[in-house]
Symmetry: C2
Subunit: 384 residues, 2 copies
Amino acid sequence: MHIRKLRLLTPGPTPLYPPAVRAMAGADIHHRTEDFRELYKQVLADLQYFMGTSNDVMLFTSSGTGAMESAVSNLFSPGDKVVVAVAGKFGERWEQITRAFGLDVQVLEAPYGESVTPERVAEALAAAPGIQGVFVQATESSTGVSHDVKSMAKAVGKTDAIFVVDAITGLGTSQLDIDGWGLDVVIGGSQKAAMIPPGLAFLSLSAKAWARIEPRRPTYYYFDLLKHKKGGEKGESPWTPATSLILGLAESMKYVRELGRDNLIENAQLLAKATREAAVALDLELFAKGIPAGAVTSIRAPEGVSSNDIVKQYKTRFGAIIANGQGSMKGEIFRFAHLGYFDFADLFGVIAELEIILRSLGRKVEFGSGVSKVQEVYAEASKL
Amino acid sequence: MHIRKLRLLTPGPTPLYPPAVRAMAGADIHHRTEDFRELYKQVLADLQYFMGTSNDVMLFTSSGTGAMESAVSNLFSPGDKVVVAVAGKFGERWEQITRAFGLDVQVLEAPYGESVTPERVAEALAAAPGIQGVFVQATESSTGVSHDVKSMAKAVGKTDAIFVVDAITGLGTSQLDIDGWGLDVVIGGSQKAAMIPPGLAFLSLSAKAWARIEPRRPTYYYFDLLKHKKGGEKGESPWTPATSLILGLAESMKYVRELGRDNLIENAQLLAKATREAAVALDLELFAKGIPAGAVTSIRAPEGVSSNDIVKQYKTRFGAIIANGQGSMKGEIFRFAHLGYFDFADLFGVIAELEIILRSLGRKVEFGSGVSKVQEVYAEASKL
């Protein structure tokens, strides 16, 4: 047995930014002190930069699902007509949350691997007047597909509906012009391109969304958006926040500012492009039929091979945790993540390992044929 | 200027158990792996030990307020008649949450520093049949007072009402026989006697409480108790959990098992007793008129002195963060915490510092007169 370093290479939790991890240990800080108030305000401003918006940003101690719920519970009432675009497991989560809160839900479904087109959203809005909200994923990380939220926003913007975008894996991996396109609610999570462990979620709200906040609905308290907005202005979270994670987030956001938001996004996009080219060179089928995501690339296991075996060999041979398909896609596809703290060195390794694993599973593979594609994308981007 | 070590001595966040902080750095773990499932199951079992119950325990990524909300949103419907005992800021939080979810709330109020008696709870239950729930704090940490939850449970147990106990600062600081007394819902948080940073909350549910879980109410999704129970049985959190904090919790819970739950509680009780005796020796007035809490001791600032100045001097002279009063009690009282990772060495320092601070504020103080009381409590407990 040789050394196998543990490498977490999944689309969330993602690899951690080491200085952020070290900062988390400094959690002997009290959340009602001036020091912490300054830190908290800084982090909220950093998140605006990270998201590229001047809208208010609110931060919760929860996973991303909590912030998704806050959009539903704070802005909609039981019986409100809403449209939900479902193209994978996270679209299904929107459907579950909106139904759990008693909304009148119309689902626009796309098969796994495809995306819901903006035309279908526009048609649904035209066909049924009085629609109060449209829910979508910027990136459906369960399948590796992106939605054309820019065009969707154009359609939604003509109506009174609120456009709610789960960008938990879309932020930092794809260009989202929140203010310019009119994305009313945009949701993110800490364990994605923000490079720290799970436990924090955040979202931005447009003026159009804020106008919906009254009357107060009897469906929320912990995820009260207005309380979080007012608290945030004073550098306070209404409830005790996850101080250790906020210390980590402050550190990773410093790095994002240093790197630049556009470079962070380009980093993911380049790695995704290189992965797709390597997969094609290795005679593998890309699972995403729509716009491929920058966050994650889904690849179909070759005929006669289960993706379970590919995922397992990554772990046993190389200590790497990569993602299998979720739900009914388990065994069918495997997924490489690019969101956040991933680099070309990671990808050279991942593709070299894939070549070995495929050969071990009986496929004919020329060693280096996938890796060289990644190298070419690197060379082109670096003008070599 | 001399060295002043930073010491966080507040009733939450509390001092961190160092091996737990180190464990938090190992967060490159994925929450859908066998390793994590084992860890998660272990932590749920550890929490049962910590709480001293065989009831199901559910764990949320949130502050304690999230778990408080889950009890309201999962078990009650708008219009349900409930009784809320309010003896401080956290009782007021129960009132706010129950009202936010549209319950029909009857408040039993006690002035700050006093507790709501079990007799008043029994009378309220007798006077208005059909009461569905009773909400209380085991320890009201804003004032340092405990409630007699044992006697309250006896009264509530004779009715159909669910008894919901916020024991966020009561767990690990006072004896609570959850199963024996019939405490239907008991709530805890990570940043208290569990010795890790904020971000995790947990609660136990009795069979009587589970019977209320159906029909499903359109007021929750993230804090779905049944989903968390079913997930927990398989070692999974329904949503991505705060992995770094769970790694820390596993470590601090190992220490709690090593120490023993009863010794952990006795530790807080002894420190609280010693603090009270020192305060009296220093001619200070204890704020708690009811049963004093083991979690925290509240002391009234002497006449002509603001507690703001006492709190400030702790920081500027000694680097120690101690708690002021909250809300209208700010400036009037100051609070010493004992919950979790506090020891006699901490308290010797805290009281010696208090003596110096009081003298600097113009009080006549004999140095050592408070510290010697702490030493005597130590000596007695150690049979010296």
